[in-house]
Protein backbone atom coordinates (compact mmCIF):
# COMPACT_ATOMS: atom_id res chain seq x y z
CA UNK A 1 0.00 0.00 0.00
CA UNK A 2 3.01 2.26 0.36
CA UNK A 3 2.89 3.48 -3.23
CA UNK A 4 -0.69 4.59 -2.72
CA UNK A 5 0.24 6.19 0.59
CA UNK A 6 2.94 8.16 -1.16
CA UNK A 7 0.49 9.35 -3.77
CA UNK A 8 -2.01 10.28 -1.10
CA UNK A 9 0.68 12.30 0.61
CA UNK A 10 1.33 14.13 -2.65
CA UNK A 11 -2.39 14.53 -3.10
CA UNK A 12 -2.52 16.12 0.33
CA UNK A 13 -0.25 18.82 -1.05
CA UNK A 14 -2.91 19.74 -3.53
CA UNK A 15 -3.97 23.34 -3.62
CA UNK A 16 -7.47 24.02 -2.32
CA UNK A 17 -9.14 27.04 -3.78
CA UNK A 18 -9.89 29.21 -0.78
CA UNK A 19 -8.79 32.72 -0.07
CA UNK A 20 -6.82 34.03 2.89
CA UNK A 21 -4.14 36.66 3.50
CA UNK A 22 -1.49 33.98 3.03
CA UNK A 23 -2.97 32.87 -0.28
CA UNK A 24 -2.68 36.42 -1.56
CA UNK A 25 1.04 36.75 -0.90
CA UNK A 26 3.21 36.59 -3.99
CA UNK A 27 4.62 33.07 -4.46
CA UNK A 28 8.13 34.48 -4.81
CA UNK A 29 7.86 36.09 -1.37
CA UNK A 30 6.48 32.85 0.04
CA UNK A 31 9.30 30.98 -1.58
CA UNK A 32 11.86 33.19 0.17
CA UNK A 33 10.02 32.51 3.42
CA UNK A 34 10.11 28.74 2.89
CA UNK A 35 13.82 28.98 2.11
CA UNK A 36 14.31 30.86 5.38
CA UNK A 37 12.48 28.12 7.29
CA UNK A 38 14.58 25.47 5.53
CA UNK A 39 17.73 27.35 6.41
CA UNK A 40 16.81 27.61 10.09
CA UNK A 41 15.73 23.96 10.24
CA UNK A 42 19.06 22.84 8.81
CA UNK A 43 21.05 25.24 10.99
CA UNK A 44 19.89 23.87 14.32
CA UNK A 45 19.96 20.28 15.43
CA UNK A 46 18.61 20.71 18.95
CA UNK A 47 15.05 20.04 19.94
CA UNK A 48 14.18 23.40 21.46
CA UNK A 49 14.76 25.69 18.45
CA UNK A 50 13.19 23.14 16.11
CA UNK A 51 10.16 22.90 18.36
CA UNK A 52 9.86 26.69 18.42
CA UNK A 53 10.13 26.74 14.64
CA UNK A 54 7.46 24.06 14.34
CA UNK A 55 5.03 25.80 16.69
CA UNK A 56 5.60 29.24 15.19
CA UNK A 57 4.12 28.01 11.92
CA UNK A 58 0.83 26.98 13.50
CA UNK A 59 -0.66 30.53 13.57
CA UNK A 60 0.23 30.88 9.89
CA UNK A 61 -1.61 27.66 9.09
CA UNK A 62 -4.65 28.91 10.96
CA UNK A 63 -4.58 32.28 9.19
CA UNK A 64 -4.29 30.44 5.87
CA UNK A 65 -7.34 28.31 6.80
CA UNK A 66 -5.68 25.06 5.74
CA UNK A 67 -5.62 23.45 9.18
CA UNK A 68 -7.41 20.27 8.14
CA UNK A 69 -5.27 19.60 5.08
CA UNK A 70 -2.15 20.49 7.00
CA UNK A 71 -2.99 18.08 9.82
CA UNK A 72 -3.66 15.35 7.30
CA UNK A 73 -0.25 15.97 5.75
CA UNK A 74 1.52 15.85 9.08
CA UNK A 75 -0.31 12.63 9.87
CA UNK A 76 0.62 11.30 6.44
CA UNK A 77 4.30 11.95 7.07
CA UNK A 78 4.30 10.02 10.35
CA UNK A 79 5.38 6.83 8.58
CA UNK A 80 8.46 8.52 7.13
CA UNK A 81 9.08 10.33 10.39
CA UNK A 82 9.08 7.02 12.27
CA UNK A 83 11.50 5.61 9.71
CA UNK A 84 13.86 8.55 10.15
CA UNK A 85 13.65 8.25 13.91
CA UNK A 86 14.42 4.53 13.86
CA UNK A 87 17.33 4.94 11.48
CA UNK A 88 18.81 7.71 13.58
CA UNK A 89 18.53 5.75 16.80
CA UNK A 90 20.11 2.68 15.23
CA UNK A 91 22.98 4.48 13.54
CA UNK A 92 23.74 6.70 16.53
CA UNK A 93 23.64 3.71 18.84
CA UNK A 94 26.27 1.86 16.83
CA UNK A 95 28.46 4.67 15.50
CA UNK A 96 27.54 7.83 17.35
CA UNK A 97 29.57 7.82 20.53
CA UNK A 98 26.77 9.52 22.45
CA UNK A 99 27.05 9.36 26.24
CA UNK A 100 23.59 7.98 27.04
CA UNK A 101 20.54 6.44 25.46
CA UNK A 102 18.55 9.52 26.49
CA UNK A 103 20.76 11.81 24.43
CA UNK A 104 20.60 9.44 21.46
CA UNK A 105 16.83 9.54 21.62
CA UNK A 106 16.84 13.28 22.00
CA UNK A 107 19.06 13.76 18.99
CA UNK A 108 16.97 11.36 16.89
CA UNK A 109 13.81 13.19 17.94
CA UNK A 110 15.41 16.44 16.84
CA UNK A 111 16.23 14.98 13.42
CA UNK A 112 12.66 13.73 13.08
CA UNK A 113 11.34 17.12 14.09
CA UNK A 114 13.58 18.71 11.47
CA UNK A 115 11.97 16.49 8.85
CA UNK A 116 8.51 17.44 10.05
CA UNK A 117 9.38 21.14 9.95
CA UNK A 118 10.56 20.71 6.36
CA UNK A 119 7.31 18.97 5.43
CA UNK A 120 5.40 21.65 7.27
CA UNK A 121 6.95 24.61 5.50
CA UNK A 122 6.74 22.86 2.17
CA UNK A 123 3.06 22.15 2.73
CA UNK A 124 2.27 25.72 3.74
CA UNK A 125 3.72 26.84 0.45
CA UNK A 126 1.89 24.35 -1.74
CA UNK A 127 -1.40 24.46 0.15
CA UNK A 128 -1.63 28.21 -0.33
CA UNK A 129 -0.22 28.63 -3.83
CA UNK A 130 -2.30 27.67 -6.84
CA UNK A 131 -0.26 25.73 -9.41
CA UNK A 132 -1.22 28.27 -12.04
CA UNK A 133 0.10 31.18 -10.02
CA UNK A 134 3.18 29.18 -9.20
CA UNK A 135 3.77 28.45 -12.88
CA UNK A 136 3.25 32.11 -13.63
CA UNK A 137 5.85 33.13 -11.09
CA UNK A 138 8.33 30.63 -12.52
CA UNK A 139 7.66 32.10 -15.92
CA UNK A 140 8.23 35.62 -14.67
CA UNK A 141 11.50 34.52 -13.16
CA UNK A 142 12.60 33.79 -16.71
CA UNK A 143 12.11 30.03 -16.86
CA UNK A 144 10.97 28.96 -20.37
CA UNK A 145 7.22 28.57 -20.68
CA UNK A 146 7.48 24.91 -21.79
CA UNK A 147 9.04 23.96 -18.46
CA UNK A 148 6.54 25.95 -16.42
CA UNK A 149 3.72 24.34 -18.31
CA UNK A 150 5.12 20.85 -17.82
CA UNK A 151 5.52 21.57 -14.13
CA UNK A 152 1.98 22.85 -13.55
CA UNK A 153 0.55 20.00 -15.61
CA UNK A 154 2.46 17.46 -13.55
CA UNK A 155 1.06 18.95 -10.34
CA UNK A 156 -2.41 18.99 -11.81
CA UNK A 157 -2.30 15.28 -12.62
CA UNK A 158 -1.31 14.06 -9.17
CA UNK A 159 -4.90 13.72 -7.88
CA UNK A 160 -5.92 12.07 -11.15
CA UNK A 161 -3.11 9.59 -10.73
CA UNK A 162 -4.02 8.89 -7.12
CA UNK A 163 -7.59 8.16 -8.07
CA UNK A 164 -6.55 6.04 -10.99
CA UNK A 165 -4.20 3.97 -8.85
CA UNK A 166 -7.09 3.25 -6.52
CA UNK A 167 -9.35 2.18 -9.40
CA UNK A 168 -6.67 -0.05 -10.92
CA UNK A 169 -6.05 -1.70 -7.56
CA UNK A 170 -9.78 -2.30 -7.24
CA UNK A 171 -10.01 -3.75 -10.74
CA UNK A 172 -7.13 -6.16 -10.14
CA UNK A 173 -8.32 -7.17 -6.70
CA UNK A 174 -11.66 -7.97 -8.31
CA UNK A 175 -9.71 -10.44 -10.45
CA UNK A 176 -8.32 -12.19 -7.41
CA UNK A 177 -5.02 -10.34 -7.02
CA UNK A 178 -3.85 -10.35 -3.41
CA UNK A 179 -1.36 -7.57 -2.88
CA UNK A 180 -0.31 -8.57 0.60
CA UNK A 181 0.37 -12.23 -0.09
CA UNK A 182 3.61 -14.14 -0.54
CA UNK A 183 7.24 -13.46 0.23
CA UNK A 184 9.26 -10.35 -0.51
CA UNK A 185 9.83 -10.99 -4.26
CA UNK A 186 6.22 -12.10 -4.74
CA UNK A 187 4.97 -8.95 -3.10
CA UNK A 188 6.95 -6.80 -5.47
CA UNK A 189 5.72 -8.85 -8.41
CA UNK A 190 2.17 -8.31 -7.16
CA UNK A 191 2.51 -4.68 -8.12
CA UNK A 192 3.19 -5.39 -11.80
CA UNK A 193 -0.51 -5.65 -12.72
CA UNK A 194 -0.97 -2.25 -11.10
CA UNK A 195 2.08 -0.44 -12.40
CA UNK A 196 1.68 -1.43 -16.04
CA UNK A 197 -1.85 -0.07 -16.56
CA UNK A 198 -0.84 3.02 -14.60
CA UNK A 199 2.17 3.70 -16.82
CA UNK A 200 0.40 2.80 -20.05
CA UNK A 201 -2.49 5.10 -19.16
CA UNK A 202 -0.12 7.92 -18.23
CA UNK A 203 1.62 7.61 -21.59
CA UNK A 204 -1.65 7.37 -23.44
CA UNK A 205 -3.00 10.36 -21.58
CA UNK A 206 0.05 12.49 -22.28
CA UNK A 207 -0.18 11.67 -25.98
CA UNK A 208 -3.83 12.62 -25.95
CA UNK A 209 -3.04 15.79 -24.06
CA UNK A 210 -0.39 16.69 -26.63
CA UNK A 211 -2.82 16.10 -29.47
CA UNK A 212 -5.54 18.12 -27.79
CA UNK A 213 -3.09 20.95 -27.15
CA UNK A 214 -1.80 20.98 -30.69
CA UNK A 215 -5.30 21.00 -32.11
CA UNK A 216 -5.86 24.10 -30.01
CA UNK A 217 -2.76 25.73 -31.50
CA UNK A 218 -0.47 25.46 -28.52
CA UNK A 219 2.81 27.25 -29.18
CA UNK A 220 1.48 28.95 -32.32
CA UNK A 221 2.67 32.39 -31.31
CA UNK A 222 6.30 32.73 -30.33
CA UNK A 223 5.73 35.61 -27.98
CA UNK A 224 3.22 34.74 -25.28
CA UNK A 225 1.54 37.32 -23.15
CA UNK A 226 -0.27 36.60 -19.90
CA UNK A 227 -3.72 37.73 -18.90
CA UNK A 228 -2.52 38.10 -15.33
CA UNK A 229 0.85 39.45 -14.30
CA UNK A 230 2.27 38.99 -10.83
CA UNK A 231 3.39 42.12 -9.07
CA UNK A 232 5.18 42.33 -5.76
CA UNK A 233 3.35 44.69 -3.41
CA UNK A 234 4.09 46.20 0.00
CA UNK A 235 3.03 43.18 2.03
CA UNK A 236 5.07 40.88 -0.19
CA UNK A 237 8.22 42.90 0.54
CA UNK A 238 7.23 42.86 4.23
CA UNK A 239 7.08 39.08 4.07
CA UNK A 240 10.54 38.91 2.52
CA UNK A 241 11.93 41.26 5.15
CA UNK A 242 10.41 39.11 7.92
CA UNK A 243 12.06 36.08 6.35
CA UNK A 244 15.44 37.82 6.31
CA UNK A 245 15.01 38.88 9.94
CA UNK A 246 14.24 35.27 10.87
CA UNK A 247 17.46 34.18 9.20
CA UNK A 248 19.50 36.91 10.92
CA UNK A 249 18.06 36.15 14.37
CA UNK A 250 18.73 32.47 14.01
CA UNK A 251 22.32 33.07 12.89
CA UNK A 252 22.78 35.32 15.93
CA UNK A 253 21.32 32.68 18.26
CA UNK A 254 23.41 29.98 16.63
CA UNK A 255 26.63 31.98 17.08
CA UNK A 256 26.19 33.49 20.51
CA UNK A 257 23.66 31.57 22.57
CA UNK A 258 24.30 28.13 23.94
CA UNK A 259 21.13 26.08 23.61
CA UNK A 260 20.65 23.54 26.39
CA UNK A 261 19.47 20.06 25.49
CA UNK A 262 16.41 18.53 27.14
CA UNK A 263 18.55 15.94 28.92
CA UNK A 264 20.62 18.74 30.46
CA UNK A 265 17.51 20.64 31.56
CA UNK A 266 16.11 17.50 33.17
CA UNK A 267 19.32 16.90 35.09
CA UNK A 268 19.17 20.35 36.72
Amino acid sequence: MSMLDGLRLLDGLRFRNISSPIHKIDPRAKFVYVCALFFVAILFNQIIPLLILFLSQVPLVIIARVKKEWLRLIRGSIFFAALIFAMNVISLYFYGGYPSLASIIEHSLAMTLRFIVLVESFSIFFLTTSPDIFGLSLEQMGIPYEFCFAFTTAIRFVPVLAEETQTIMDAQRARGLELESGGFIKRIRNYIPILIPLIVNAIRRSLELAEAMESRAWGASKKRTNLYALKMGGKDYCFIIISIIIILISIYVWLFIKIPSITQIMQL
Binding site: E164, T167, I168, D170, A171, Q172, R173, A174, R175, G176, L177, E178, I192, P193, I194, I196, P197, V200, N201, R204
Partner: protein, 242 residues
Protein backbone atom coordinates in the same frame (compact mmCIF):
# COMPACT_ATOMS: atom_id res chain seq x y z
CA UNK B 1 -29.83 2.70 -14.20
CA UNK B 2 -29.78 6.36 -13.34
CA UNK B 3 -28.12 9.67 -14.04
CA UNK B 4 -24.35 10.27 -13.94
CA UNK B 5 -23.14 10.37 -10.39
CA UNK B 6 -26.26 8.64 -9.07
CA UNK B 7 -24.12 6.14 -7.18
CA UNK B 8 -24.45 3.07 -9.39
CA UNK B 9 -20.75 2.23 -9.46
CA UNK B 10 -20.50 2.94 -5.75
CA UNK B 11 -23.37 0.55 -5.07
CA UNK B 12 -22.05 -2.34 -7.14
CA UNK B 13 -18.59 -2.00 -5.61
CA UNK B 14 -20.23 -3.12 -2.37
CA UNK B 15 -21.20 -6.42 -3.96
CA UNK B 16 -17.67 -7.80 -4.11
CA UNK B 17 -16.37 -6.07 -1.02
CA UNK B 18 -14.29 -3.37 -2.72
CA UNK B 19 -16.30 -0.97 -0.62
CA UNK B 20 -17.63 -1.92 2.80
CA UNK B 21 -20.83 -0.42 4.13
CA UNK B 22 -20.32 2.20 6.84
CA UNK B 23 -23.80 1.36 8.14
CA UNK B 24 -25.84 -1.82 7.77
CA UNK B 25 -24.43 -4.88 6.03
CA UNK B 26 -24.13 -6.47 2.60
CA UNK B 27 -24.79 -10.19 2.34
CA UNK B 28 -23.60 -12.21 -0.65
CA UNK B 29 -24.98 -15.75 -0.47
CA UNK B 30 -25.38 -15.20 3.24
CA UNK B 31 -21.77 -14.06 3.72
CA UNK B 32 -21.21 -10.66 5.25
CA UNK B 33 -18.81 -8.78 2.95
CA UNK B 34 -17.08 -7.20 5.91
CA UNK B 35 -15.73 -10.55 7.06
CA UNK B 36 -14.09 -11.85 3.87
CA UNK B 37 -11.41 -10.57 1.50
CA UNK B 38 -12.15 -9.20 -1.95
CA UNK B 39 -10.22 -12.09 -3.49
CA UNK B 40 -12.49 -14.60 -1.74
CA UNK B 41 -15.64 -12.80 -2.79
CA UNK B 42 -14.33 -12.30 -6.32
CA UNK B 43 -14.48 -16.05 -6.87
CA UNK B 44 -18.26 -15.72 -6.60
CA UNK B 45 -18.77 -12.20 -7.82
CA UNK B 46 -17.16 -11.23 -11.12
CA UNK B 47 -16.84 -7.49 -11.68
CA UNK B 48 -16.02 -5.94 -15.04
CA UNK B 49 -14.97 -2.33 -14.63
CA UNK B 50 -16.18 0.57 -16.71
CA UNK B 51 -12.78 1.30 -18.26
CA UNK B 52 -10.77 -1.69 -19.55
CA UNK B 53 -7.55 0.33 -19.42
CA UNK B 54 -7.67 0.09 -15.65
CA UNK B 55 -6.91 -3.60 -15.75
CA UNK B 56 -5.14 -4.67 -18.95
CA UNK B 57 -1.45 -5.32 -18.35
CA UNK B 58 -0.41 -8.62 -19.96
CA UNK B 59 1.67 -9.22 -23.06
CA UNK B 60 -1.01 -11.20 -24.83
CA UNK B 61 -4.77 -11.40 -24.72
CA UNK B 62 -4.42 -15.02 -23.69
CA UNK B 63 -2.28 -14.14 -20.64
CA UNK B 64 -4.70 -11.40 -19.71
CA UNK B 65 -7.60 -13.81 -19.69
CA UNK B 66 -5.75 -16.45 -17.69
CA UNK B 67 -4.51 -14.00 -15.03
CA UNK B 68 -7.50 -14.42 -12.74
CA UNK B 69 -7.59 -18.18 -13.32
CA UNK B 70 -4.00 -18.40 -12.07
CA UNK B 71 -4.83 -16.24 -9.08
CA UNK B 72 -7.65 -18.58 -8.16
CA UNK B 73 -5.34 -21.58 -8.51
CA UNK B 74 -6.94 -23.47 -11.41
CA UNK B 75 -4.77 -26.18 -12.99
CA UNK B 76 -3.09 -25.75 -16.39
CA UNK B 77 -5.54 -27.90 -18.28
CA UNK B 78 -8.64 -26.15 -16.95
CA UNK B 79 -7.03 -22.78 -17.62
CA UNK B 80 -6.39 -23.49 -21.28
CA UNK B 81 -9.88 -24.92 -21.74
CA UNK B 82 -11.52 -21.93 -20.11
CA UNK B 83 -9.43 -19.43 -22.06
CA UNK B 84 -10.26 -21.18 -25.32
CA UNK B 85 -13.95 -21.15 -24.53
CA UNK B 86 -14.27 -17.58 -23.39
CA UNK B 87 -12.20 -16.18 -26.27
CA UNK B 88 -14.54 -17.99 -28.60
CA UNK B 89 -17.66 -16.63 -26.94
CA UNK B 90 -16.39 -13.05 -27.13
CA UNK B 91 -15.13 -13.34 -30.67
CA UNK B 92 -11.51 -12.79 -29.71
CA UNK B 93 -9.87 -16.04 -30.80
CA UNK B 94 -7.94 -14.41 -33.64
CA UNK B 95 -6.41 -11.90 -31.17
CA UNK B 96 -5.20 -14.65 -28.87
CA UNK B 97 -1.51 -13.80 -29.27
CA UNK B 98 -1.94 -10.05 -29.79
CA UNK B 99 -1.07 -7.46 -27.19
CA UNK B 100 -4.23 -6.14 -25.54
CA UNK B 101 -2.83 -2.63 -25.88
CA UNK B 102 -2.90 -2.86 -29.68
CA UNK B 103 -6.64 -3.56 -29.83
CA UNK B 104 -9.38 -0.99 -30.41
CA UNK B 105 -11.39 0.46 -27.52
CA UNK B 106 -14.35 -1.85 -28.06
CA UNK B 107 -12.07 -4.88 -28.36
CA UNK B 108 -10.18 -3.99 -25.20
CA UNK B 109 -13.51 -3.81 -23.43
CA UNK B 110 -14.28 -7.34 -24.60
CA UNK B 111 -10.90 -8.60 -23.41
CA UNK B 112 -11.67 -7.16 -19.98
CA UNK B 113 -15.01 -8.92 -20.04
CA UNK B 114 -13.38 -12.18 -21.12
CA UNK B 115 -10.84 -11.95 -18.31
CA UNK B 116 -13.68 -11.98 -15.79
CA UNK B 117 -16.04 -14.42 -17.51
CA UNK B 118 -13.20 -16.92 -17.63
CA UNK B 119 -13.67 -18.10 -14.06
CA UNK B 120 -17.41 -18.44 -14.47
CA UNK B 121 -18.56 -16.48 -11.41
CA UNK B 122 -22.01 -17.10 -10.04
CA UNK B 123 -22.80 -13.41 -9.96
CA UNK B 124 -21.61 -11.13 -12.74
CA UNK B 125 -21.46 -7.35 -12.53
CA UNK B 126 -20.97 -5.36 -15.72
CA UNK B 127 -20.36 -1.63 -15.42
CA UNK B 128 -21.48 -0.04 -18.69
CA UNK B 129 -20.67 -3.04 -20.91
CA UNK B 130 -22.10 -1.62 -24.14
CA UNK B 131 -19.92 1.48 -24.36
CA UNK B 132 -18.04 1.51 -27.65
CA UNK B 133 -19.58 -1.72 -28.94
CA UNK B 134 -21.02 -1.81 -32.44
CA UNK B 135 -24.53 -3.14 -32.81
CA UNK B 136 -23.38 -6.60 -33.89
CA UNK B 137 -21.22 -7.00 -30.77
CA UNK B 138 -23.96 -5.56 -28.60
CA UNK B 139 -26.41 -8.15 -29.86
CA UNK B 140 -23.90 -10.95 -29.25
CA UNK B 141 -23.28 -9.65 -25.76
CA UNK B 142 -26.98 -9.43 -25.06
CA UNK B 143 -27.59 -13.00 -26.16
CA UNK B 144 -24.68 -14.19 -24.10
CA UNK B 145 -26.01 -12.39 -21.03
CA UNK B 146 -29.44 -13.96 -21.54
CA UNK B 147 -27.81 -17.35 -21.83
CA UNK B 148 -25.90 -16.85 -18.56
CA UNK B 149 -29.10 -15.79 -16.92
CA UNK B 150 -30.87 -18.93 -18.12
CA UNK B 151 -28.05 -20.98 -16.60
CA UNK B 152 -29.16 -19.53 -13.27
CA UNK B 153 -26.51 -16.84 -12.91
CA UNK B 154 -27.24 -13.41 -11.55
CA UNK B 155 -26.19 -10.68 -13.96
CA UNK B 156 -26.15 -7.09 -12.77
CA UNK B 157 -25.69 -4.49 -15.47
CA UNK B 158 -25.05 -0.81 -14.90
CA UNK B 159 -26.00 1.04 -18.04
CA UNK B 160 -27.56 4.09 -19.66
CA UNK B 161 -28.42 2.11 -22.78
CA UNK B 162 -32.22 1.80 -22.63
CA UNK B 163 -32.57 -0.03 -25.94
CA UNK B 164 -30.04 -2.63 -24.83
CA UNK B 165 -31.98 -3.31 -21.66
CA UNK B 166 -35.46 -3.56 -23.14
CA UNK B 167 -34.83 -6.76 -25.06
CA UNK B 168 -33.65 -8.51 -21.88
CA UNK B 169 -36.73 -7.45 -19.90
CA UNK B 170 -34.91 -7.59 -16.59
CA UNK B 171 -35.72 -6.28 -13.15
CA UNK B 172 -34.73 -2.63 -13.13
CA UNK B 173 -33.51 -0.52 -10.27
CA UNK B 174 -33.41 3.22 -10.83
CA UNK B 175 -31.07 5.39 -8.78
CA UNK B 176 -30.80 9.09 -8.15
CA UNK B 177 -28.60 11.04 -5.72
CA UNK B 178 -27.38 7.90 -4.00
CA UNK B 179 -30.88 6.49 -3.47
CA UNK B 180 -33.04 3.90 -5.12
CA UNK B 181 -36.07 5.65 -6.60
CA UNK B 182 -37.74 2.70 -8.27
CA UNK B 183 -37.45 -1.06 -8.38
CA UNK B 184 -39.53 -3.33 -10.58
CA UNK B 185 -40.08 -4.97 -13.95
CA UNK B 186 -38.62 -3.29 -17.02
CA UNK B 187 -42.08 -3.16 -18.56
CA UNK B 188 -43.44 -1.27 -15.62
CA UNK B 189 -40.53 1.12 -15.04
CA UNK B 190 -39.35 1.98 -18.52
CA UNK B 191 -42.87 2.90 -19.62
CA UNK B 192 -43.38 5.39 -16.80
CA UNK B 193 -42.49 8.79 -18.31
CA UNK B 194 -42.04 10.47 -14.93
CA UNK B 195 -39.69 7.87 -13.48
CA UNK B 196 -37.72 7.67 -16.67
CA UNK B 197 -37.14 11.38 -16.89
CA UNK B 198 -36.32 11.57 -13.19
CA UNK B 199 -33.49 9.13 -13.82
CA UNK B 200 -32.23 11.18 -16.79
CA UNK B 201 -33.17 8.44 -19.23
CA UNK B 202 -35.47 8.52 -22.25
CA UNK B 203 -38.39 6.19 -22.91
CA UNK B 204 -37.48 3.33 -25.24
CA UNK B 205 -38.26 4.37 -28.80
CA UNK B 206 -40.70 1.50 -29.19
CA UNK B 207 -42.58 2.68 -26.12
CA UNK B 208 -42.78 6.19 -27.53
CA UNK B 209 -44.30 4.79 -30.71
CA UNK B 210 -46.77 2.56 -28.90
CA UNK B 211 -47.94 5.35 -26.64
CA UNK B 212 -49.04 7.16 -29.77
CA UNK B 213 -50.55 3.96 -31.17
CA UNK B 214 -52.66 3.61 -28.04
CA UNK B 215 -55.50 5.38 -29.85
CA UNK B 216 -55.56 2.50 -32.30
CA UNK B 217 -56.06 -0.04 -29.58
CA UNK B 218 -52.43 -1.05 -29.02
CA UNK B 219 -51.16 -1.51 -25.46
CA UNK B 220 -49.06 1.32 -24.01
CA UNK B 221 -46.50 -0.73 -22.17
CA UNK B 222 -44.55 -2.28 -25.03
CA UNK B 223 -40.79 -2.05 -24.71
CA UNK B 224 -39.16 -4.64 -26.97
CA UNK B 225 -38.68 -4.53 -30.73
CA UNK B 226 -39.62 -8.17 -31.15
CA UNK B 227 -42.79 -7.80 -29.16
CA UNK B 228 -43.69 -4.71 -31.18
CA UNK B 229 -43.12 -6.58 -34.39
CA UNK B 230 -45.34 -9.42 -33.23
CA UNK B 231 -48.16 -7.10 -32.20
CA UNK B 232 -48.07 -5.17 -35.45
CA UNK B 233 -47.91 -8.29 -37.61
CA UNK B 234 -50.83 -9.83 -35.72
CA UNK B 235 -52.85 -6.74 -36.38
CA UNK B 236 -51.89 -6.60 -40.06
CA UNK B 237 -52.66 -10.24 -40.69
CA UNK B 238 -55.97 -9.80 -38.90
CA UNK B 239 -56.64 -7.37 -41.74
CA UNK B 240 -58.32 -5.05 -39.28
CA UNK B 241 -57.54 -1.33 -39.60
CA UNK B 242 -59.54 1.42 -38.11
Amino acid sequence: MGQNGAGKTTLVKHFNGLLKPSKGRVLIDGIDTRHVSVATLARKVGFVFQNPDHQLFSETVEDEVSFALKNFGFDEKTISERVEKVLNILDLTHYRKSSPFMLSGGERKRVALASVLSWDPKILILDEPTIGQDSYQKERLRQFIMQLNQQGKTVIIVTHDVEFVTECEPRIILMKNGRIIADGDAREILTDPNLVSEASLVLPEITQVFMRLNDYGFPRNVIGVYEAKRLILERLSGGFMR
